[in-house]
């Protein structure tokens, strides 16, 4: 009997030991958390970077932009990620100076599940606002029919899916809605999480996409890749110039191309951009890190990774439907990365 007990113990130890062998290299391991919007790209970057630098392991968890801001503020992670820039109040609360490093551009698209509609629907800003305010409740509402005369919209209730977590995608979306709808601006307003007037919540871009995909009559909003990669129908949106625009790398780049004065802290909004062919619900996504790093090895690995991601790594963006960073931003980003220090030592030695 005693032997049996020992066997049980040995078995447990053996099982625990199994994991040990698999342990990949990674003398420095970086943990990041935040936005789900760029998660597929960050995951790809992490995997690619790990192949080139076996000594660096990067673990990114998509928990929502609100989470990215909160967790970097509480220093539970090495870097945060968000699609909505931190507010001044949030920046003040952090125990050190936080930098916003733009990583990539993306589009937020309205997604829907209407099997009988084959052509992409056209939405306008005010109509989207009314849909999410719960003022338009049927798919064959006159306002929608006017935008889509031949779509054959069904007499079916619209069920709205929004984010249940703090989200930068929500920030971009509500930032846009606040610009085009006074009712939205004075109502829910723009933030990473708002007081939703209607609908149900799902966690993450992934959760919203999965929910809409599984349920007919649903309307939601997600980052483009989540719609494109999962064959979920997404609508075109009428931009400031009055033309319906399909979300694509080109139309997002067009929106970013209209940037005139870039603020020095790189916190900027590119929604409802003026240009021809500019997709109106375009957004930028940032990685957040402390200018003063506590751990030199980690800080160095982090800025080197960010340098790579904002330069060579950009080539990986397009296949995943993200638009590369505009060229004019690069010098500003480089200056930011070079300013990161540990102690008083700058961390980026040779780019």
């Amino acid at each position: 009997m005693r032997y049996f007990s020992w066997l049980l113990i040995l078995g447990l130890l053996g099982l625990a030991g199994c994991g040990q062998h698999e342990e990949g290299g990674g003398n420095v391991s970086l943990t990041g958390a935040g936005a789900t919007f760029p998660q597929p790209l960050y995951a790809k970057w992490a995997a690619h970077y790990a192949q080139m630098h076996r000594e660096v392991g990067i673990n990114y968890q998509g928990i929502g932009s609100g989470g990215g801001i909160k967790q970097i503020t509480e220093k539970t992670v090495d870097f945060g990620a968000t699609d909505g820039p931190m507010t001044d109040a949030q920046l003040q609360k952090a125990s050190g100076e936080l930098l916003h490093i733009p990583m990539t551009l993306g589009a937020v698209v309205p997604i829907y599940n209407l099997p009988q509609v084959t052509k992409p629907l056209v939405f306008s800003g005010p109509v989207l606002a009314d849909l999410f305010l719960g003022k338009i409740t049927k798919w064959n509402d006159p306002q929608l029919v006017q935008l889509n005369p031949d779509a054959g919209l069904p007499d079916q209730p619209v069920t709205v899916v929004h984010r249940s977590d703090g989200s930068g995608t929500t920030y971009i979306f509500t930032d846009y809605l606040s610009k085009v709808s006074p009712a939205w601006k004075s109502g829910p307003g723009k933030a990473t999480t708002v007081n939703w007037p209607s609908g149900r919540g799902a966690k993450g871009n992934d959760g919203v996409a999965a929910d809409v995909k599984q349920n007919e009559g649903s309307l939601g909003y997600v980052e483009l890749i989540y719609a494109a990669n999962n064959n979920i129908a997404y609508g075109d949106v009428v931009n400031a110039a009055g033309q319906p625009v399909h979300a694509s790398i080109e139309s997002v780049s067009a929106a970013a191309g209209t940037l005139k004065d870039i603020p020095p802290d790189l916190r900027m909004s590119i929604t409802n951009a003026e240009g021809e062919g500019a997709y109106p619900i375009s957004g930028m996504t940032w990685i957040l890190l402390y200018k003063q790093q506590e751990n030199e090895a980690k800080g160095k690995a982090l800025v080197e990774f960010l340098w790579w991601a904002t330069h060579d790594g950009q080539a990986l963006a397009a296949p995943l439907h993200y638009a590369p960073l505009p060229k004019e931003l690069l010098p500003l980003i480089e200056a930011k990365l070079k300013s990161v220090t540990a102690g008083s030592k700058p961390l980026l030695t040779q780019p």
């Binding site: 049996f4 447990l12 625990a16 698999e22 992490a46 995997a47 992670v77 999965a210 989540y226």
Partner: protein
């Protein structure tokens, strides 16, 4: 009332109970069937031994989460086992002490705390930086601690019962030989209770192995194999929760695979301990 009426009434109600049993078996059957069918398709040697791959790349597996789960359970055992053992011994062999009553009640009460609150508690006290918190950040250690807090009351109770099952005559025999009380308790009583104590430990492990709620804000999740105890760690339940809400078919498939692996592991432990208890104590054994 005629006997016929009474007999039919009896049959009717017994029939209703039978119906209740059948209705309750439907979801169980559906769950197990879906699990085996959907999960079975995914499971392969590669799936069980390979680590995480980003969506779109082939050959991703869940080995990092399996390893993470085992590490977390290991840490939880290291924390909960000594404490639970001490508590169980105290409750079973410290009868006259005025604290045994309150301690037992509090243990029972502790086992009813919702797992999610344990997560909030450990986050506030251990994970978060600043304030009175230990500030470990998301870590294997914090996750293990959260699991340990759920394990502790279960393990302490099973230990108490295991030790209580050793008749006092055994103690008396030891004391009559002139051994000090502590030796009697540790060498004779505890030693005879070891198999039952271990069974309890494994049952407690099986119980917490499936918990995701306490890990969300503590171990946090990771795509990498567990490294240092101060880094975040993945786990099967957390991966399952994560993947289940993914729109990517591949990840949903993996979620089913992971679910099957998790349930199989837990059931295996339970069935083994059950069989062992039966074999050892014969007959019906405890129903564990």
């Amino acid at each position: 009332m005629s006997p016929v009426y009474r007999r039919w009434k009896s049959r009717l109600f017994l029939g209703l109970m039978g119906l209740a049993l059948l209705v309750c078996l439907v979801p169980l059957a559906s769950l197990l069937l879906t699990l085996v069918v959907k999960g079975g398709h995914v499971i392969s040697l590669r799936f069980l031994t390979a680590g995480w791959q980003p969506v779109g790349e082939r050959g991703g597996g869940i080995a990092h989460a399996i390893a993470g789960s085992l590490y977390l359970l290991g840490v939880a055992t290291l924390i909960a086992a000594p404490l639970g053992l001490a508590k169980g011994l105290f409750l079973a062999r410290g009868d006259r002490h005025w604290l045994t009553g309150p301690v037992r009640v509090l243990l029972d009460v502790m086992s009813g705390i919702p797992a999610i609150i344990v997560g909030v508690f450990v986050y506030t006290l251990v994970v978060r930086r600043g304030g009175f918190s230990l500030g470990t950040g998301f870590s294997l250690l914090a996750g293990g601690l959260a699991l340990a807090m759920i394990m502790l009351p279960i393990f302490a109770r099973t230990t108490e019962e295991a030790v209580r099952a050793i008749p006092p005559s055994v103690d008396e025999a030891g004391l009559a030989l002139g051994l000090p009380r502590r030796r009697v308790v540790l060498w004779i009583v505890l030693r005879s209770a070891v198999p039952a104590v271990l069974t309890g430990l494994f049952l407690a492990l099986a119980r917490v192995a499936g918990e995701a709620a306490p890990l969300l804000f503590t171990a946090f999740g990771s795509n990498a194999f567990p490294g240092s105890p101060l880094e975040p760690a993945g786990s099967l339940p957390q991966l399952l929760f994560e993947y289940a809400r993914q729109p990517f078919e591949e990840l949903v498939r993996q979620a089913w695979g992971a679910a099957l692996v998790l349930v199989a592991m837990i059931l295996a432990v339970r069935l083994l301990t059950h069989a062992y208890t039966r074999w050892r104590y014969g007959g019906h054994g405890g129903h564990a």
